[in-house]
Structures are given as structure tokens and as C-alpha cells.
Amino acid sequence: MNALPLILTVFVACAVEAVEALTIVLAAGLTREWRSTFQGMAAALAVLAAVTAAAGPALTLLPLSALRLVVGALLAIFGLQWLRKAVLRASGYKALHDEASAYLREVAAAEAAPAQARRGVRDWYSFTLAFKGVLLEGLEVVFIVITFGASQRDVGAAVIGAAAAVVVVTLTGIAVRAPLAKVPENWMKFAVGVMLTSFGTFWGAEGAGAAWPGNDAALLALVPLVAAASAGCIFWLRSRKAAAGTPAPEKEIVRS
């Protein structure tokens, strides 16, 4: 199978999570202290890299059919979570994620917290804020990198996609020096949800013993099918909401 869909899916998924992590890192760095923020970020990236390096090659040792059955199930469930949330947001049943509000909330909390040096780190608050933000947002990316990469026996390509996204978002963040509020996060999550669900379905069925007509080419039908069904759900829910006459929710302030 061509590595391009793998790289693109991981790139978009990682970009979405990196945008959310960037908001937290900027709030810590700009309001408090950059050195401790970078230390926290670096520590989290080291943990994520260690998890990928340990789990990625270990998974590739499993027999391919067993691996695809387990990974397919996990990816389909995980992808449906992303799709469910994206569809609820696109149809107005759930508030859209708002990076600008999330940034202001983090800034307010960062300004209120007292400065404290610990374990060789000058500002412990900045360190832990950056560490937790990058680790939690990065964990979903690691999950996608490992499962996608192992199923295609190409963890390296998945890592390239993730690393490219981190570089692009970081450079954009440095240039803008503000949260990337204009990124269409929900539509990116929708696209990633479609890809994860489609690949999970494809590999899961293969792992269960089914043979797809046309082998890998079946994905060319499966991806549009999942996308069309999900888009159909948005139209269905929008009309349901219009019929009920309920107003759209405010933009989301809490992170998710």
C-alpha cells in the first residue's frame, strides 16, 4: 500500500493536536518563562518518543492478521469517537473548540500561579503546564502513529508525518506568536475521523478473515462511503435541530 495516505492522515491528526498543545505552550511561555516551558515541552516529547520507540517495533513482531484485528478494532472505535465529536460540533449540538478562549483561560491561570523553583527547574508551573499539555495532546498522536504504522509495517512513515506536522505548527506559532485560532480544527478532526474509521474497518475485517474485493483498492470506496455517511449525519442532525428550534451552543472555553 502507498505510504501517502498514512503520512497525510498522521500529519493532519498531529497538526490538530499540535495546535492545541501550542496554545498551552504559548500561554506558559509568554506569560511566565520560556526556559522552563521548553524544558517541560522537551521532557514530554522525550516520553512520547520513548513510547513510540518501544511500542512501535514491539507491535510489528505480532502476526499481521492478529495485529490488524486488534488495531482495526481500536482504530475504528477511536476514529468513531473523533467523528462523533466532529459531527456533533458541525451540526451545532456541541460547542466548537475555541483556541482564543482556551488561551485566555490558560493565561489567567498562569498569571495567578506563584513562581516556585523545583528539581533544577526555575519555574515549576510553566514546566508542568507545558509537560502535561504536550504529553496529553501527544498521546493521541502516538496512538495513531503506532497503530497506523504497525499495521502498514511502516512506523517510520508515520513518524515522518507526525514530525512534519509538529515542525509546521511550531514554525507557524513562532511566526504568529499567538494561538492558531483560524485553523479549521473541526473539519480536520472530521477528516482524521473518516480516515481512522475507514482504515480501522478495513484492517479489522481483514484481521477477522474477510477478503476485500480488489484488496487495497477497496479503501477507495470505503473512505468515501464513511465520509458520505458522516456528512449525511451532519445534515440529518442539522435538520433535526432546526425542527426542534434549539439555539446553537456558545463557543467552547474548556479544552477537550
Binding site: 468513531l80 479489522g204 477477522a208 474485493p213
Partner: protein, 67 residues
């Protein structure tokens, strides 16, 4: 004990998420596919996509009904 519970809750939330019935439907679809392929001899590649689309629709219906 609390830490173990919190660890388990984190991973449950991470993988299964807001609606456990989605996970249950995906696993049921996979199990049924395996049974049809191995025990009955039917190449049921079409079954899992149906379960997946149904799981999404069902979950969204439950999340929005009455709102």
C-alpha cells in the same frame, strides 16, 4: 488503589470515550464477521462497514434525542 482506578479510567476514556455502545457494536461486528468467514464460509467483508455506520448513527441519535 485510587491511582490504579484513575489509570484505568484514563485509558477507558482514551480508547472507549463517551459512548461504550460504539465500542460494543464495533467488537460485535468484528466477531460476527469472523464467525461468518470461518464457520459459515461467507466472505462477509461488507458486514463491518454496516456496523460502523450503524454505530455512528445510533450513537448520534442517542446523543441528540430530545435536545
Amino acid at each position: 488503589m485510587n491511582r490504579i482506578k484513575a489509570f484505568g479510567a484514563f485509558w477507558y476514556d482514551f480508547v472507549v470515550g463517551d459512548d461504550w455502545q460504539v465500542a460494543a457494536l464495533v467488537v460485535a461486528g468484528l466477531a460476527l464477521t469472523a464467525v461468518l468467514v470461518r464457520a459459515v464460509g461467507v466472505d462477509s467483508w461488507w458486514l463491518l462497514p454496516l456496523f460502523v455506520v450503524a454505530a455512528l448513527g445510533w450513537s448520534l441519535h442517542r446523543a441528540t434525542a430530545g435536545r
